[in-house]
């Protein structure tokens, strides 16, 4: 039985510094015992490679550094049997050798993505085989695929994903070159960390069984104080020690029905100087500290009344004090404690 003409499979561009397997197929005919690969420089038509390989397998491995990158070649193959018969040559397949592009994600500095909707940017360093398209793939920390960006045909490499705060992920940039080579950045680990609003109130859920529904309710309050002359320190404190510095709370006070409590956590408490003033249309309450007591002076409707906490408390300027002023039906309860 004669040998049939082999079929050389399409050759994807490859790096000439690496070995490469030319795959072919031979259907029917005598058993293939050897194959012969010829490679020509396409521009000069000079033969640069011509080798026989004794193998039953339908492949021919080209040794590394046989060819030169950024050069276009054409290759053909024929098969031989045990009787030294050779098949006809296959058709030529055209290919170009390129050094692989270097693909990277450029904006994951320190492995942190600092936004909920984070736009990843990538870079494709070409050595002749330019980018055709790309996509990003988002994985969880265990490598399970979560999301994938659309395949994009653009030289600007970027894609945006929605990320959960304080969560570990992996990201991969996959590029496709114009000659059909796929190059990946590999899976790069990162963590999403960003400042996001946090609600403090609890969610109230009620079964509305007669309506076949659930009622969801929450109290959401966003009041803003006004202030002048202040500075924030350590993202924890407001410093009002400068002369004239003041912070005022107005919003929300109109929702008070009758009694109320004001609890302060503070330090650098002055002696014999008002540091808290509660004002209404009928008068005011001034809170100060002297002689080891916290004092509340209420001036209302022309009357002045005086309230103090019921035990001595010695406060230095560095002590942090929790002071609660309870206004109960016109009377004032003053309670203070040093806290750590």
């Amino acid at each position: 039985m004669a040998l049939t003409t082999p079929l050389l499979l399409p050759i994807v561009s490859f790096d000439s510094t690496q070995s490469y397997e030319f795959i072919f197929n031979s259907i029917g005919g005598s058993q293939v015992l050897r194959n012969n690969l010829e490679i020509y420089n396409n521009s000069t038509n000079t033969l640069v490679y011509n080798q026989n390989i004794e193998s039953f397998q339908f492949k021919h491995t080209l040794p590394a550094n046989t060819l030169t990158n950024t050069t276009t070649y054409k290759a053909r193959i024929r098969t031989g049997d045990v009787y030294n018969n050779w098949s006809s040559w296959s058709s030529y397949s055209l290919f170009t050798c390129y050094q692989p592009a270097v693909v990277s994600i450029t904006n994951l500095i320190g492995g942190i993505a600092n936004n909920q909707n984070y736009t990843f940017t990538g870079n494709y360093q070409s050595f002749g085989d330019d980018i055709s398209s790309y996509l990003f793939v988002l994985y969880d920390e265990n490598g399970v695929q979560l999301d994938v960006s659309p395949i994009t045909y653009s030289s600007t490499i970027e894609a945006t994903f929605a990320l959960q705060n304080q969560t570990n992920y992996k990201i991969e940039l996959k590029t496709y070159s114009q000659s059909g080579v796929t190059i990946s950045s590999g899976l790069i680990s990162f963590m999403a960390v960003y400042l996001a609003p946090i609600m403090g109130a609890e969610l109230q859920l009620t079964n509305l069984s007669t309506q076949g529904a659930v009622e969801v309710e929450i109290i959401a309050v966003d009041y803003t104080a006004t202030a002048s002359g202040y500075t924030f320190t350590s993202s924890e404190w407001i410093d009002l020690t400068v002369s004239g510095a003041i912070v005022s709370f107005v919003e929300g006070l109109n929702t008070i029905n009758n009694n109320y409590s004001i609890k302060l956590y503070f330090k650098n408490i002055p002696t014999s100087t008002t540091f808290l003033k509660i004002i209404s249309g009928y008068g005011n309450i001034e809170i100060s500290y002297c002689e080891n007591r916290f004092h509340a002076w209420q001036t209302a409707m022309g009357l002045v009344s005086h309230f103090v906490n019921n035990a001595d408390i010695t406060v230095t300027s560095s002590d942090m004090v929790c002071l609660e002023i309870k206004y109960i039906d016109g009377l004032i309860d003053v309670i203070a404690e040093i806290y750590i």
């Binding site: 946090i198 859920l205 079964n207 529904a213 966003d222 104080a225 709370f249 408490i269 808290l276 609660e324």
Partner: protein, 298 residues
């Protein structure tokens, strides 16, 4: 005349250290702090709570908590200087990872209580609900709570209205429709079965329409209300919009009404009450947010 009273000596009051006058200033219009370095201010209405120097979380009686974390907000958000624009209500079945945003409301600083009704629920399922405060670009962390739903009877609803169909209600067969084709070839003993991706349910429902007014009237039929109810529900059933159908047995589907909804009078009651019947066909996945948006149910 100004009367000056000081709580010393025989005027002192043991508990409060106070002279017993209740000429108070009443509800404050402003509270001003100065001459100190402040960590936190917590203003609340409840004065009955025992004093504790521990910082308290937001309480039902809280007016505001100022934490001074680089901003002057004193609500129940930790904002990091961001501006809240929306509140997003989300939910999921506790055995699912897929959250559905079923309602988004614009945040208004003058409104402090936000509530929404979720009718997209299955009976006797455990749901986790969550609310997040959102800025223009960032969704905040979810505040969550869990509830097991419970209801009896059959409900049909859309985004704006709902009807409880519970009296004499009779749900017909629920048929699962999956397209298939049987191909018999000359060379094969057995046929080849081809399936399409079509997979939906159809069914029918019949019930007696009775208004709550008639039910509570102890036997008397409120003809006017019954007439209005019939008109409302027929308008609802023929408005060509998607609807949610659910019952206590676990049926839960997005449907369209097909065929001809029918009102059948009870002639023995002089046509004062009617039976309602209609056929329906499932049109999309009731657990898929995109589908629910498409059919205008969320």
């Amino acid at each position: 005349m100004i009367l000056f009273l000081i709580s010393l000596g025989i005027f002192a009051f043991d508990d409060y250290g106070v002279f017993m006058t209740n000429n108070g200033i009443g509800v404050p219009t402003s509270i001003e702090a100065s001459n100190s370095i402040i960590d936190e201010v917590h203003i609340k209405q409840d004065t009955s709570l025992t004093f504790t120097s521990q910082k308290e979380n937001w309480l039902p009686s809280t007016i505001g908590i100022a934490k001074f974390q680089d901003d002057l907000h004193y609500g129940n958000f930790t904002l990091y200087s961001q501006e809240i624009t929306h509140l997003k209500f989300k939910k999921r079945l506790t055995n699912s990872l897929q959250w559905i945003t079923f309602s988004t409301v614009v945040f208004d600083k003058d409104v402090t209580t936000y509530e929404t009704i979720d009718r997209l629920i299955e009976a006797d399922e455990e749901y986790q609900y969550g609310i997040c405060a959102s800025t223009d670009t960032i969704e905040g962390d979810l505040k969550t709570a869990t509830i097991t739903t419970s209801f009896d009877g059959m409900f049909i609803s859309d985004k704006d209205s709902y009807y409880k169909l519970i009296y004499n209600y009779n749900l017909g067969d629920i048929v699962s429709n999956q397209g298939n084709s049987i191909i018999e070839t000359l060379g094969s003993v057995y046929p080849t079965i081809m399936y399409s991706s079509t997979n939906y349910q159809t069914g029918s429902l019949q019930c007696m329409l009775i208004s709550d007014t008639t039910l509570l009237a102890g036997g008397a039929i409120d003809i006017k209300v019954e007439k209005a109810l019939r008109k409302q529900i027929m308008t609802f059933l023929t408005n060509k919009k998607a609807k949610l159908l659910k019952d206590s047995s676990g049926n839960f589907m997005v449907i369209s009404i097909v065929g001809m909804p029918k009102l059948t009078p009870h002639n023995e009651l002089s046509q004062q009450l009617y039976d309602l019947s209609f056929e329906f066909i499932e049109i999309c996945d009731a657990t898929n947010e995109d589908s629910l948006i498409l059919v205008d149910l969320i």
